[in-house]
């Protein structure tokens, strides 16, 4: 590791206890896997898995204009959220790109929680501060106070029924505030796997106890601790975006195939006119899926059609559910599903076909997040 401080989550010792293989993930020491990425992946598709997602950030927005402010900085309609509801959304940068992809939760009329990506927490917080000046709101970054566990997979319902049963009354993207071990916590019905699942946001000091409680309650459902490896393969199969790879300050929601998070019929929001223009004029590149017959492409691999370079993969991996490798990258729009292309892997051009996104539709919640 170079000359930089590595950050550890409050579950670091737990990962070691369960045999996690720890790696440096954008400055955070997190387990890439425990026993096997494939086994962890399949346990989430079939049973239930636990993930440490404490590197994610929590930004609280409170005050009279909280709703109006969040509607201004988001592409999705945050204004209409009622208490206990949430939505996936993009934060437009006003130049046609995206600051981050986030989930906004309405905790109360004037109190919202925004879950932001780990690598962009400071960026988003500063972006909120910069854009909140004309609003009567308070923006607080409490990422250092909270840890987060994701409980994902079809058996997560039975497990949560024994832990925080009230969350089962909520649909996808619902959130409840509740006491766990006498501490104020947030439990939402969200995730990044394409399966039904939940995320618990809790104060750092009780996160180890929550993890162990869930491991204990989950025994009868074959619960497994899961690492970043399966988190990535699960989200890619389900067509979920990874900020910094698939979307960034240079690409728009339309280009990413996520036009449904842009609500042009809501009130004003940052860069709305650019979205309107792009919707009218059409996009020149589109995030497109490929599936391989053989070989494992990685992000950065170039894609060719009839010998001409048409794009570069932004994400790619072996898909344990499909038992084939998959990837996505920006290519010219209009490529048809099953059309033949080539992906360059180690100087060799390997046959691939254009695929629909999501690649895997077996999960309960695929693609359309709301």
């Amino acid at each position: 590791m170079e000359n930089k401080t590595i950050r550890r989550t409050h579950l670091n010792e737990i990962h070691k206890k369960y045999g996690g293989k720890l790696v440096d993930f954008h400055g955070w020491e997190l387990p890439v896997q425990f026993e096997s990425i494939i086994k962890e992946h399949l346990s989430v598709r079939n049973d239930v898995g636990l993930f440490d997602v404490s590197h994610m950030g929590q930004v609280f927005v409170t005050g009279k204009d909280a709703r109006k402010f969040l509607d201004w900085v988001n592409t999705n309609n945050v204004f209409k959220l009622k208490k206990g509801e949430g939505c996936y959304s993009h934060l437009p940068n006003g130049k046609g790109g995206i600051v981050d992809d986030v989930i906004n939760f309405c905790l109360d009329e004037e109190r919202f929680l925004v879950i932001v990506n780990a690598t962009t927490t400071e960026k988003d917080y500063n972006w909120f501060l910069k854009n909140s000046k004309k609003f009567n709101v308070r923006v607080e970054n409490k990422s250092n106070e909270y840890s987060m566990i994701a409980i994902q997979g079809p058996k997560s319902l039975e497990l949560m029924n024994k832990f925080v049963p009230e969350i089962l009354k909520y649909p996808r993207f619902g959130i409840v505030e509740t006491e766990i071990l006498n501490k104020h916590c947030f439990v939402s019905r969200t995730g990044y796997t394409g399966e039904d699942g939940f995320e618990v946001t809790a104060p750092n000091k009780i996160i180890v106890d929550i993890w162990e409680k869930l491991m204990d309650l989950g025994k009868e459902y074959n619960i497994k601790p899961c690492g970043l490896g399966s988190r990535d393969s699960l989200r890619l199969e389900s067509g979920y975006l990874l900020y910094g790879s698939d979307i960034d300050d240079e690409h728009s929601s339309y280009e990413a195939g996520y036009g449904w998070v842009v609500k042009l019929n809501k009130g004003e929001f940052i860069g709305k006119e650019l979205f309107e223009k792009q919707k009218k004029e059409g996009i020149k590149i589109k995030l497109t899926g490929i599936v391989m017959e053989q070989g494992v492409p990685r992000s950065g691999c170039r894609v060719f059609k009839n010998g001409v370079e048409i794009g570069t993969l932004t994400s790619a991996s072996y898909s344990p559910s499909l038992k084939k490798s998959i990837g996505m990258g920006y290519m010219p729009p209009g490529l048809k599903v099953a059309e033949e292309v080539e992906v360059e892997i180690r100087d060799k051009k390997v046959k691939a076909r254009i695929s629909e996104i999501p690649f895997f539709k077996g999960g309960v919640f695929f693609f359309k997040l709301n």
Partner: protein
């Protein structure tokens, strides 16, 4: 293959030399480090191999790993079973998970490879 009878490289390949022919695979430590193996880009039969140069590539879910030739020579056979079931390397790295066979040009090139006990000692110096 009995792992105690094999020679090992610092890059975690094993080789069993018998006269001018040899079998090559990766060690148990290597398969654990790589994780779930999902594809083996096998060398071509008759490919010329140079000691310590790339011979083929093993892909796990998370990354690609170069496999180096323990000695110089020529590939005579590849384990085509790995095309259907690359996870054999995880399951039996010293058995059905062998990768290729080769004709060895100069068997004395193996003199600087480690024996099993030396390799075990060497692993203690490798950080996990």
């Amino acid at each position: 293959m009995n792992k105690e009878d094999l020679k090992y490289t610092k890059t975690h390949e094993w080789i069993k030399i018998d006269g001018n022919t040899a079998i090559v695979g990766v060690s148990d430590f290597a398969q654990k480090e790589m994780g779930d193996i999902v594809f083996v880009d096998l060398p071509k039969v008759r490919a010329k191999l140079e000691k310590e140069k790339q011979a083929c590539v093993v892909e796990s879910v998370k990354s690609a790993f170069d496999i180096y030739a323990p000695v110089s020579g020529e590939v005579t056979e590849v384990n085509s079973e790995l095309s259907n079931d690359p996870a054999k390397i995880n399951q039996e790295p010293y058995g059905s998970g062998w990768i290729f066979k080769m004709k060895v040009i100069n068997p004395s090139e193996a003199n600087d490879l480690m024996n099993y006990l030396q390799y075990e000692e060497f692993l203690k110096t490798q950080s996990h």
